[in-house]
Symmetry: C4
Subunit: 309 residues, 4 copies
């Protein structure tokens, strides 16, 4: 078996033995192809969900719990008796419930016009509780909003395809390209690239092997333009002996880990990405994504990171 001839590297943490053939390890959206079952949910999971979900979802959920809480209190006031709220126009029916709801919002938000106000011990007590709860829910929402905004999410875009192509002096190389979509810069960026191959073993299970790829440049100080990460395919490269078809048979996947200091959030970031054999393109080149204009300024066309020619 050819694979035996290549010096494999240590398991990067994904495991070497599987009962069946498995899909790509890292999905195209950057998550792992792993489902966790049997784990316990905790309050912090809800927080993380609210912080990482889309803005549409976040606004929907926020509206939901704000309206939900006020509906619950409206029910409470309605149950205790809307006539205990002085100044309502209606005390029964859906109009009475609406007034109870509006009184609830005026209490929850602490707007408290006073055109409606509690007039019995019970309603005074409930509305006191609601006003205090309102403070806490506002505090919580403030925290959630701030967390969403201040979350240091990099916007590094990887080229759609990874290339195996002629490089320099007739040598071949494996390469992919990245760009920082954000205006704020990334500094001290590092790349680690690992090839994963899986093949059937004699006992019917599947074995994954891992090969760290040597890179022409694995650290850049600045990252204002595109960065083409290049692995030269020389005799020490695991790609050296493997044909296109063999890479397909071994279900080749490239695992990438990028670390960088993000000037926007003053944090060190780690980004993971993967290219599956189906994302590979042979014998094409990346089109240059930037040019210098007549004023000596460098213009970077962000979307051209994907363009090959």
């Amino acid at each position: 078996m050819k694979l035996q001839m290549i010096r494999k590297t240590k398991d990067p943490g994904i495991g070497e033995k599987y009962d069946k053939k498995s899909h790509r390890i890292i999905n195209q959206n950057g998550t792992f192809n792993v489902q966790r079952v049997g784990r316990q949910s905790r309050i912090k999971d809800i927080y993380l969900l609210m912080v990482t979900t889309s803005w549409t979802n976040f606004i929907f959920f926020t509206a939901l719990y704000l309206i939900g809480i006020n509906l619950i209190f409206a029910c409470l006031y309605f149950f205790v008796g809307v006539h205990h709220i002085e100044g309502v126009d209606h005390t029964t029916g859906w109009k009475g419930f609406a007034d109870a709801f509006f009184f609830s919002v005026q209490t929850f938000t602490t707007v408290g016009y006073g055109s409606m106000y509690p007039d019995s011990f019970g309603v005074k007590a409930i509305s006191s509780f609601e006003a205090l709860l309102g403070l806490l829910i506002t505090a919580l929402t403030t925290g959630l909003l701030f967390s969403r905004f201040s979350r240091p999410t990099a916007r590094v875009v990887f080229s759609k395809n990874a290339l195996i192509t002629e490089y320099k002096n007739g040598k071949k190389a494996f390469m992919f390209r990245m760009v920082n979509e954000r205006k704020e810069n990334l500094l001290e960026t590092n790349a680690t690239v690992i090839l994963s191959l899986q093949n059937k073993t004699s006992d019917g299970s599947y074995s994954r092997k891992y090969y760290n790829l040597d890179l022409q440049i694995d650290h850049i100080y600045f990252f204002p333009l595109t960065w083409t990460v290049v692995h030269e395919i020389d005799e020490d490269s695991p790609f050296f002996n493997l044909s296109h078809q063999e890479l397909k048979d071994y279900d080749a996947e490239i695992l990438i880990i990028i670390t960088s200091y993000d000037e926007a959030f003053y944090e060190d970031l780690h980004i993971k990405h993967s290219y599956h054999i189906d994302d590979f393109v042979w014998d094409k080149k990346f089109k240059k994504a930037f040019y210098t204009n007549d004023h000596g300024e460098v213009i970077l066309k962000v979307k051209d990171v994907h363009t090959i020619e």
Copy 2:
């Protein structure tokens, strides 16, 4: 003495000489078996307590201080005279006190319906102070809530037992297993494992010796599944010459320090853990905690991290 033959490593910071035999250094909940006496309490300790205590406690304490502050102001208004609050139903007795309390909440939360309002210089002054204080307490509660949520607490679960068992090629190994219970990934995870043995010295005191354990893999890039940390018991291993009984006599304890980058909170985390000799199991194996389903997806049963067979 056998221990003399093993190359011990430097004190990891826990001390080498004790007057008496002491319990395990790191408790099962991850704290140290050390009580600090004579230290001064400071405001930040209260903050840290509120941030690290359970949610039940947090809600209890928050309710306590919110109600407490309002009770204090209710007393103030009651003492100055509830009849200075215009619009109250009662000015004396517990009903008057209740109205003073409700007026306090309406002021503190800034709901201020106006059905009750201050009608003398004194009450105007006190209520002005309370409203301003309300802002500060709300600010503080907002900060506490946000701190609790945004606290980057990893959820790495360690196997209940550490194993000493056959490993490869007939060699024995010491091993334990970890899993990340959270969906968000850990990257660039490192493990440091130290064996601590204590034995009585000739002068009656106890001496602790420390031995860094060489690991098969001490760094993984990704941590989507379980990680079994393995120390091979070869001639250089401190375990090599020690029998089960000797380890018991020396009160063996394994000290573990894990560092990792947490994708959920974008922070580097350090986790400590320990296995005491009583947590060791001999000649069993960890049951595989994941499998591949028919769609090529990897399914991880989080709770199986503990399962041995």
Copy 3:
């Protein structure tokens, strides 16, 4: 070509081949001379803009959206009918609109005096929505303000000029100077300095070459005074063979990356800076920027970081 004789270092991430001659890579304000086109705007870009813009702009934008939102609601109330707000002085004309606006502000800020209050289902509903929105906008503004303040922006000032001057033992050196303008200290400060030269190649394009400069001291533990970063021009230095005119022809630019731990914000910082050949001064010296007074205290004149003599 002389440049061939000097051992260049790897591309620091800026690229080696340009179609035309380009300006300095890092502008004097620390940004890159790169314009990104075709990138998608996102909500987080607005956040980053609000957090990084000047205080004047921030106050202007904040006033703008606070007034804007209230104008929109004023229009809504005006459209639905100001006579549905009980207690207004005017229901039509610009005075009616002004009352609608004031009612909106009283609702949005949750001040809710109650002298004006909603008196129809429609206005009750709109004002409920506005009060809830007010909470969210306040939360958002709180987050923005906090982000602005807590942003760990170092205040390291670089000398206006970089010098090439006699240093020690008759040897020449390239040097520049820095000072930390802030009272809080920087610890463990590192400097990386790269020379960039661009020259026309045979095919009419421009090639950039990069040379890491060896520094006398590239790491300091403390940074309470000024730090003069010195590169001795010996035979291994790229400056050794290059005349003033040649440096000009090659459009020499010095790229600087400083990393440091900031005691003010408890964060690691990275600062970038550049000196263009036009910022170079020959055969001058930096004037000492600190002296010891009669009480043994060291006095640092921050602005003297620029002074040469």
Copy 4:
């Protein structure tokens, strides 16, 4: 000159040439003995002042600006005419001003009872502005309070004295001791220790020389008890040839930099400290600060970190 014989290390960033003899570099409170003059104040300096000042000062300043803002608005209302505020008891004199002040607080805090409410265009406009300003000031105060609490300030206490005393095998050593006063642990703690000596040069100026001290242990994994940092005085030590009197003449100062991961705040911390020759004690020993009780628990007496015997 004896000092010539010792291999000095690089300037740690404090400078080597001074015009006069200067005091200790790092004061006993951990700040540098450097005064910055001529630097520009900025908004962030006020923030940092409010965040780092004592709680007493913070409460005082906060009260000051809350009352100050309300006094300014009270003046505005008084100037425009208190009779434009409906529901006041007094419109002139200090009682009218008091009512204007109370109205201001009710507006600023958004409590808005409505017993007093604006009744003219001017007062409506001013109070609208005040309510909006109130939101911003509350936001700001929330941020300040949160910053104060969440600031990762370590509570490492250094022994009052550094010792030069017999150590092991008859060898002498320089040592000092630290303890973590806080319950939350410090992990991966490093120590760097530098000796600074200043002496008069032939031209009348003072020269500072620096010597990195080799430590028995310069890194500990855990820090639950005390840590005695030990520098053995062998032939390579700068202390080896220097008598007590010479150390005094050279105004010896020990500069210390501690880095550690703080489990309380999940942050890497850097702490600096210094011992001046006057803090040195000869031929004493640190008294052990912890003992094991009968239940096998280790008891640490925090204040004993200073105790020598």
